[in-house]
């Protein structure tokens, strides 16, 4: 293992150089009235529903604690569980591949698809394959990847990017969706009917017909997974529409790309997450469909099953004793829906497939903080703590944000691609300026701060007397008031008396 000293500019190029830093993207989003309207409607609706679904279970906090402990235990012994999983999947007739980074994962999947002789695959929504840019990699090799989740279809046809983990087209309203279907479906397959209206039922029907011909002829399916059980080798996909079942069941070959942190030690552990995930994400007692498969089954489902285990920055994240808790995430998206910053800035501002609070702590760890967007993400928050309160695996997102801010500003030892490196402070680099603008953006939008729900007792611990780094620069040499004994938003309201309120 080598220790290298790296200044910010010397680091490898960012994963997505095209993304502007958070504050610029957020600025555009806030001016987009339609986007804001869609987001507000969506997040408000789902927030209320989630609270109701969670209140039905009086043991919620105990389930949450169990979920946290299962994940922490798994991460602590991840090597052991990975080996156990590999053995179980192999014994059940599957083939396990290991991919260190996006390029390797893409090459493995591309080779597997080519070996089938097919030129198209059907895909069920998967964050991991978006993270590695699999569709683009397949396209470059002449393989077409069809997204089959309704929202992903909308995004793919609209040549757009997802803006929400669970509802990736949350930024599109029905009129826009109709226009996208009318103009784009024909280029991808069965066209939309000429008289397509904008009622959700008709739009869903158009998608059903468009995708059905693809499902019925599909020979290769590509998926992710919500959980992998080490003890049994079972993979689990949780979904609503049935496109997942189609992709997992009808093709001859199934390729699942899954982050190494998705492991659960035992079958029994599912009893925790199958209760907390649906209620946290779609606010349902249970989502319409959950598929579980273990290797291959004679005569039922794919004959060939390949599992691609993906690192791509996860082991680097694991090496950080504060930041590693982000790997507990089960991608429920509850933290997005309660986040006042997300509600106003929208998912695209985060410049990553992982938007919202979880994106703000995950992307900079998976990709490093060397790009402007990733350096600015830890600042895209008012630290109100609402995300922590709803998180079903109790990830202390504010704690990690503060930790990453210090990292950006003060530098320090981190692990990158398996090696320990020492980051220099961001001072004077683009990253610092981007971070500073993100902090200023959050501070200059009182409505963002006001949206927070956290009580003072928790925020106090997280507000150092001087904001680290860019925050410090922004506050000049003044110290922040002695830990405010009132919620941060109230303190802001009082000291800044509603001025600059951006409605």
């Amino acid at each position: 293992m080598s220790t290298t000293h790296l200044g910010m500019p010397g680091l490898p190029p960012p994963a997505h150089p095209a993304f502007p830093p958070f504050p610029e993207a957020a600025h555009d989003a806030v001016r987009d009235e339609r986007l804001r309207g869609n987001l507000r409607h969506a997040t408000t609706t789902i927030r209320a529903k989630r609270a109701h679904a969670v209140a039905e279970l009086e043991d919620w906090q105990r389930l949450r604690e169990a979920g946290k402990r299962i994940k922490d235990h798994t991460l602590r012994h991840l090597d052991r569980y990975l080996v156990q999983l590999e053995e179980a999947v192999t014994a059940a007739g599957g083939t396990v591949h290991w991919a260190l980074d996006a390029a390797e994962a893409n090459r493995i999947v591309t080779d597997l698809v080519k070996a089938t002789g097919e030129h198209e695959v059907v895909k069920v929504k998967s964050m991991a394959t978006q993270e590695i840019g699999l569709n683009e990699a397949l396209e470059a090799e002449g393989i077409r990847a069809y997204e089959t989740d309704l929202a992903e279809l909308i995004v793919q046809l609209g040549k757009d990017r997802p803006s929400h983990i669970l509802v990736p087209a949350i930024h599109r309203n029905r009129g826009e969706i109709r226009d996208i279907f009318r103009t784009q479906m024909a280029a991808w397959g069965r066209p939309a009917p000429d008289d397509l209206s904008d009622t959700p039922a008709e739009l869903a029907e158009a998608a059903r017909l468009h995708l059905r011909e693809k499902f019925l002829r599909a020979k290769v399916g590509v998926s992710g997974a919500n959980f992998m059980v080490a003890e049994t080798g079972t993979l689990v996909v949780v979904e609503s529409e049935g496109n997942g079942r189609m992709c997992l069941t009808l093709p001859d070959t199934l390729i699942s790309v899954v982050g190494i942190e998705k492991i659960l030690p035992t079958w029994r552990d599912l009893e925790v997450f199958l209760q907390t995930l649906p209620r946290s994400s779609t606010a349902e007692r249970m989502n319409p469909y959950t598929s579980m498969w273990t290797g291959t089954t004679d005569g039922d489902g794919p004959r060939d099953f390949h599992l691609v285990l993906l690192d791509n920055g996860r082991t680097d994240t694991l090496a950080d004793d504060v930041g590693r808790q982000a790997l507990r995430c089960i991608r429920c998206s509850a933290c997005l829906n309660v986040c006042p910053v997300y509600e106003r800035a929208g998912g695209h501002a985060y410049g990553s497939v992982y938007p919202g609070p979880i994106g703000a702590i995950l992307s900079p760890q998976l990709r490093g903080t060397h790009s402007d967007i990733d350096a600015s993400l830890p600042y895209a928050s008012s630290l109100c703590g609402a995300c922590y309160d709803v998180c079903p695996v109790a990830i202390d997102i504010p704690e990690v944000l503060v930790h990453l801010r210090e990292r950006v500003v003060q530098g320090g030892e981190v692990t990158r691609e398996g090696n320990k490196v020492v980051l220099k402070p961001a001072k004077g680099h683009g990253g610092e300026r981007a971070a500073m603008r993100a902090a200023r953006w959050a501070f200059s939008h009182p409505a963002v701060l006001r949206g927070g729900q956290r009580l003072a007792s928790r925020t106090r611990r997280l507000h150092p007397r001087t904001l680290p780094g860019p925050g410090r620069a922004w506050t000049g040499t003044r110290d922040l008031p002695e830990a405010p004994a009132e919620p941060f938003r109230d303190w802001w309201q009082r000291t800044h008396g509603g001025e600059e309120d951006d409605k």
């Binding site: 309704l150 349902e284 590693r324």
Partner: protein, 215 residues
């Protein structure tokens, strides 16, 4: 070095500084959450199942074993089904009252062929009252996963009270992980368009659950 060795090596290095932990797994996780929520009689548990199924837009019917063939015949007739897929191990008496053409699931049947069949009738492995869920495990009375996926109309027979459990933890105890499992809670649905729930996207758009007693 293989990708496998490199990833495992990185994991081990990442954990090198972590505090020793040799707590056995059984003790590492508190299991003080509830095995089920609330106390109910058997009849109440079945009622809750029915209630939650309806809440997620499944159509629920109840009958005794003697009435089952007539009910199934009625449900197929109501839809004007012209064909019904039959899993290999389905109790033949269940379909004894219907004249609708019975289609056996052949191993080489293509998805397109299945797509031309209107309905499917199956049993189930277990049903969960608290969540309104039925679970299929590919047993002979349920058949391969595809036959309950492609047809647009699924009639699922649940033997009550034997096949009904209260909760998710109780259901997992009864299931065999090695079998391909499909958990179904209502017909397929999407909320992707402005979060308006629309029933019926790719899976069967109509789910009818028959709670049959005395079986």
């Amino acid at each position: 070095m293989s990708g496998r060795d490199r990833i495992l090596g990185r994991v081990r290095r990442a954990l090198a500084g972590a505090p020793e932990d040799d707590t056995p797994y059984e003790q590492a996780v508190p299991r003080d959450y509830d095995r089920r929520h609330g106390e109910r009689s058997t009849a109440e548990t079945v009622d809750l199942l029915a209630e939650n199924l309806v809440d997620y837009r499944a159509v629920v019917h109840r009958c005794d074993l003697a009435g089952l063939p007539a009910l199934i015949a009625h449900l197929l007739g109501e839809r004007d089904s012209t064909g019904v897929l039959v899993p290999p191990g389905l109790d033949a008496s269940w379909l004894s009252a219907t004249a609708v053409a019975q289609v056996a699931d052949r191993a080489d049947a293509t998805p397109h062929e299945l797509d031309r069949v209107d309905s499917v009738v199956t049993g189930c492995a277990v049903a969960i009252a608290e969540t309104g869920t039925i679970v299929l495990d590919g047993s002979a009375d349920q058949g391969r996963r595809r036959i309950t996926l492609v047809p647009d109309h699924h009639i699922c027979v649940v033997r009550v009270p034997d096949q009904v459990v209260s909760s998710v933890p109780e259901a997992l105890e009864r299931l065999v992980p090695a079998r391909p499992l499909t958990w179904i809670s209502g017909p397929s649905a999407t909320s992707d368009i402005e979060l308006d729930r629309v029933e019926g996207v790719h899976g069967p758009r109509t789910l009818e659950v028959v709670l049959v007693s005395g079986a």
